[in-house]
């Protein structure tokens, strides 16, 4: 009895210690973002950030890039994941191998390959749209895993046969039968991709494009409290997206994008 009480307090102390390690930086960030010099605390840092046109500019750019990445990767993955689950389970290994490859070729390596391979045309590599190529590759494993989980929960064989015996073609089947059934997985994948793109720093920084994460870093080098406010805003958005994924996507979040 005594031993178990001892191990229980030890366990409790350990959990509390780690909770401190994980929550103190967040609290410190919050307090710092409210600091206005001396002993004054107010929301002036937030006001300053919201008035900065660069904030809106970079955020809009990252949001647009995220939207493009989401549309492209969904358009690529939904049919592929559907077909692999229904008819071509042999391709599962190929796709697994490719997702392993995306681990072996991390963003900092991939960006080197992309720049050496694509030197032109200017409208492609010279604009931030070039980032979408990297972001699609970066988010594909997560999109695929999330949608695959959603599709596996369905009885695809029965759904397909039922739809087709009623005269539905492949288009109708995908759009009106499969898609509504995996809407929560699609939403989860979209949220996860949004969070990855919004936080992505490596590609944009190496290629010298001014995205939201690059802007946060720039503010961080020059101004203290607005940077803290900005980090909290960015964190808030990311965490909402991630919690949304856990809530709707029912998928597990694993290795993310922004390391």
């Amino acid at each position: 009895m005594r031993a178990s009480l001892l191990s229980r307090t030890g366990r409790g102390a350990w959990i509390v210690l780690l909770a401190l390690y994980f929550f103190v930086p967040l609290v410190a960030l919050g307090i710092y973002s409210l600091w206005a010099g001396g002993t004054r605390y107010d929301l002036s840092a937030y006001a300053q950030i919201l008035q900065d046109p660069k904030f809106h500019e970079t955020f809009r750019l990252s949001a647009v890039l995220a939207a493009e990445t989401i549309l492209i990767s969904l358009a690529l993955v939904i049919p592929a994941a559907f077909w692999v689950n229904l008819r071509a389970p042999g391709l599962r290994n190929v796709l697994g191998l490719l997702s392993v490859l995306s681990f072996v070729v991390p963003p900092i390596v991939l960006v080197g390959g992309l720049t050496s391979l694509f030197r032109g045309p200017e409208w492609f590599v010279g604009t931030p749209q070039f980032l979408v190529a990297g972001y699609v590759v970066l988010s594909l494993p997560y999109t695929y895993r999330t949608l695959d989980t959603g599709l596996r929960a369905l009885d695809l064989q029965t759904l397909s046969e039922a739809a087709q015996s009623l005269g539905a073609g492949w288009n109708t089947l995908l759009w009106r039968v499969i898609l509504p059934n995996i809407s929560s997985a699609v939403l989860g994948a979209a949220l996860l991709t949004f969070a990855i793109v919004l936080g992505e720093f490596t590609f944009a920084n190496v290629l010298l494009f001014n995205t939201f994460a690059v802007y946060i870093n720039y503010i961080g080098q020059t101004q203290g409290t607005p940077a803290a406010a900005l980090s909290l805003i960015s964190l808030g958005i990311t965490w909402l997206a991630m919690l949304g994924l856990l809530r709707f996507g029912r998928g597990r979040v694993a290795l993310g994008g922004a390391r």
């Binding site: 959990i15 994980f22 490859l101 900092i108 050496s116 994460a213 979040v253």
Partner: protein, 330 residues
């Protein structure tokens, strides 16, 4: 919308068995058999076409934007600088350049940073997962821990760096609290912006990743094994030494290796904290690629190749261990 021929093809698709077994019905003629075979062949062709249509675009995008760029890195690392846009011949010059002291330091720092944070992450994350998810842990904390780990493992990069600046920077909250009680961290050799600081910050995303990775293996540790050991008179320590840890060992090692790779390829957090000044392999690649120091794409590719080799070894060891560990999981 559907042309009649479309519907016909799909009807056969639905029931390939019926289509192909038609010829086997007793009394049916040879023509019917041939008909069935032709239908089956048409069916296979249609399936192949649809595979190309549904999976093809994904594979092409991955080929063009992942596989070929990776090959370009490998080849570029061995290519001499070409003249007037033409590709140069093959050379080992760039690989030899990796032997320069600053790159050896970069590799050493990267390995040390990834190794130490992988060890810390495995140890702390493993014990945290056991404390909460193990037998007798607080049940109400299970789901919050899994959810939080999923989020925190992704909390990296610039915001994480700034959070730690507010905490452990020269004027950070904890730094000031500690100096208030007479402990000056920065006089004791700690600095957030050097190696020691990066270890503390990297651990922040390594621990939750470890929790996610080890949770299934902990769940697989069956209660009956513990009860069996107890019935045979084993103490808790004996159970862990002779049953628990040997079963968990492959999963623990596999997670350790994956955490290593996770830290080894990280770029954003280190860049934001050190402005790229600390010699770490990913930061050096970034500097060479964006032309901050010298613009030498081939050297950048040689460095990138080094990262790829390390990540490949990491992945091979990981999958080997993972296969070993999954034996105990059903």
């Amino acid at each position: 919308m559907e042309s009649p021929s479309d519907v016909q093809v799909t009807a056969e698709t639905v029931s390939p068995l019926i289509a192909s077994s038609e010829g086997l019905i007793p009394g049916s003629g040879l023509t019917q058999q041939a008909e069935g075979r032709r239908a089956a062949r048409r069916e296979r062709l249609g399936d192949l076409l649809r595979t190309a249509l549904f999976v093809g675009p994904l594979l092409i995008v991955l080929l063009v934007f992942l596989v070929i760029p990776a090959l370009a890195v490998v080849i570029g690392a061995f290519r001499a600088e070409g003249v007037a846009g033409a590709a140069g011949g093959f050379t080992l010059e760039h690989l030899r350049a990796l032997g320069q002291p600053q790159y050896l330091t970069g590799l050493k720092n990267s390995v040390l940073l990834s190794g130490s944070t992988a060890l810390l992450g495995t140890l702390i994350g493993g014990l945290l997962a056991y404390a909460v998810l193990g037998e007798g842990g607080p049940a109400w904390l299970r789901n919050p821990l899994i959810a939080f780990s999923g989020v925190a493992a992704n909390f990296a990069g610039v915001p994480l760096a700034l959070a730690f600046v507010a905490t452990l920077g020269t004027t950070g909250m904890v730094t000031r609290l500690l100096s208030g009680v007479g402990i000056n961290l920065y006089q004791h050799g700690f600095s957030l912006f050097t190696f020691s600081g990066l270890v503390v910050v990297y651990t922040y995303f390594q621990v939750p990743l470890m929790v996610i990775l080890i949770a299934p293996a902990l769940d697989g540790l069956r209660r009956e094994w513990r009860e069996a050991a107890e019935n045979l008179g084993a103490s808790a320590a004996q159970f862990w030494r002779m049953v628990g840890l040997p079963i968990l060992a492959p999963a623990l090692l596999a997670s350790l290796v994956l955490l290593f790779g996770n830290a080894f390829s990280a770029y954003a957090t280190a860049y934001a904290l050190t402005s790229g000044a600390l010699p770490l392999l990913p930061l050096q690649i970034g500097a060479v690629l964006s032309g901050n120091v010298i613009s030498d794409p081939h050297l950048g590719q040689a460095l990138a190749l080094l990262v790829m080799v390390v990540m490949t070894v990491t992945m091979l060891v990981y999958s080997g261990l993972e296969r070993l560990g999954s034996r105990w999981r059903r």
